[in-house]
């Protein structure tokens, strides 16, 4: 199960890398610049989510921040 899931993540990463061969010019990227397309709406809201999931679950990380440390939670 773990091996299959890891393989899926790797496959997605490779797919994203392969797509890098296609260059979308800047004048065709207006939809990508829409705030709705952001993976995280803003840093303060992202921190609120990290506070919830980092203190109530044992599985933080993967979002550019350390998994644990910096607070009295685990």
């Amino acid at each position: 199960m773990k091996a299959r899931t890891l393989a899926l993540v790797v496959a997605l990463a490779l797919a994203a890398s392969a797509a890098g061969c296609v260059i979308v010019p800047q004048n065709r990227r207006k939809h990508l610049a829409d705030p709705m397309m952001r993976f995280q709406t803003d840093a303060l809201e992202a921190h609120a989510h990290q506070k919830l999931y980092g203190s109530r679950e044992a599985a933080a990380g993967g979002d550019g921040t350390p998994a644990g440390g910096g607070c009295a939670c685990q």
Binding site: K2, T5, L6, L8, V9, L12, A13, A15, A16, S17, A19, G20, V22, I23, V24, P25, Q26, R28, R29, H31, L32, D34, P35, M36, M37, R38, F39, T41, D42, A43, L44, E45, H47, A48, K51, L52, Y53, S55, R56, E57, A58, A59, A60, G61, G62, D63, G64, T65, P66, A67, G68, G69, G70, C71, A72, C73, Q74
Partner: protein
């Protein structure tokens, strides 16, 4: 040139001071209202899980300023006011006997962080970032330093980012009777890599990995473990933990002026915990500047081999009854209204949002999260 002429020339040349412009100012207020039961909490009848009731009030403020053409400063101050950070317990049959009698954490613990990020634009495609922060709460202090870099390739279609952080925690050590036993320390070393890729004029993808190595005292020292027979003993955790998390995210613009974002994350660590999280959010612009957002998240995790709700009283190995380390699945349902309005006179953009989320765990824990944000972009 005579010395006097040289001095006169230097005096005539005015030093160029980079202009300091505030780019944005944002504030956010979030409240967490938690209910439920957990085996690590002694705030319950003997032999039964105790209450995990608590409330967190969390104001945050952030200022982003530009210093000249190349330097951007971000100063971020989150504050947490936690009620019942360590619940009162009934170890001796007294329902209001606080385990950490030296502190006030069983009633209320304010905590605050000052985090600063300085970004230097080395060239058109490369940003370098330095981070420094300090966190304080009773009876806990923490220092944070970090560095990061990002570089764009292929006409900004690909952005690669790396960052590293080092955190040192320093806190009081207590036993279950509330006696203080000096200080404990914890080190957290973290490395992150992420790649964001434009896949099409309407599709964006991101993959990320974060590895974290923790060493030292990895518990809070006063958390209790349910023993066989109903009594309570101390929690014992390994002194090291190596944590890996990888995530893949896709954002797709929708032709009816909406957007769909999907994310999947896998987590594995050296304690034997494995977790999977899947998340989706749908955003829809209903009026110019007004967006409705709905989100759903599913999380499932396994427990470490030393998790127990009935530890042997004379056991000497690792043990925990912390329900946050236990096996469970959790769902989060959320919704938000986001308003972005141009305000020509005072600021270029006014942002307001209000949202609510309900986090429900299979072990009965529930957290209601209410949040509202206000921001100005100048």
């Amino acid at each position: 040139m005579s010395p006097l002429a040289l001095l006169a020339l230097l005096a005539a040349v005015e030093p160029t001071v980079p202009q300091y412009d505030i780019e944005s100012l944002r504030v956010r207020y979030t409240q967490y209202a938690q209910t439920g039961l957990g085996y690590q909490s002694a705030a319950g009848p003997p032999g039964k899980p105790g209450s995990e009731w608590l409330r967190v009030e969390q104001p945050q403020a952030e200022i982003t300023a530009r210093l000249g053409e190349r330097v951007t400063e971000r100063v971020w101050i989150p504050v947490d006011i936690v009620t019942a950070a360590s619940p009162d317990h009934s170890r001796y049959g007294k329902p209001y006997d606080a385990v950490d009698t030296v502190t006030t954490a069983s009633r209320s613990t304010p905590s605050a962080t000052l985090d600063t990020f300085t970004t230097y634009r080395a060239d058109r495609a490369t940003d370098l970032t330095m981070r420094a922060g300090f966190h304080i709460e009773e009876p806990f202090e923490s220092w944070i330093v970090g560095v990061g870099a990002s570089r764009s390739f292929a006409e900004d279609n690909t952005v690669v980012g790396v960052s590293a952080n080092q955190i040192l925690d320093w806190f009081d050590r207590f036993d279950l009777d509330g006696n203080r036993h000096g200080r404990a320390t914890r080190s957290t070393t973290n490395l992150n890599v992420d790649v964001t890729q434009v896949l099409s004029p309407t599709t964006l993808a991101n993959v990320a990995y974060g590895g974290t190595l923790q060493a030292g005292e990895l518990g809070n020292t006063w958390q209790s473990v349910m023993l066989d027979g109903g009594a309570r003993g101390d929690e014992r955790l390994p002194g090291h933990r190596f944590r890996h998390a990888a995530a893949a995210r896709v954002a797709q613009w929708l032709p009816w002026d909406g957007a769909l974002t999907l994310a999947y994350r896998i987590y594995l660590d050296s304690w034997g915990i494995a977790a999977h999280s899947a998340e989706g959010a749908l955003a829809q612009r209903v009026l110019p500047g007004v967006v409705l957002r709905a989100s759903y998240r599913f999380h499932v995790q396994s427990a470490p081999g030393f998790f127990t709700t009935a530890a042997a009283p004379n056991g000497t190995g690792f043990r925990t009854s912390d329900s946050d380390l236990g096996p469970f699945h959790a769902q989060t349902f959320g919704g938000a209204v986001v308003v972005d309005l141009p305000v020509a006179r005072h600021a270029h953009d006014l942002h307001v949002d209000i949202g609510f989320e309900r986090y429900v765990r299979s072990d009965s824990l529930r957290v209601d999260v209410s949040t509202c944000g206000l921001g100005f972009r100048f």
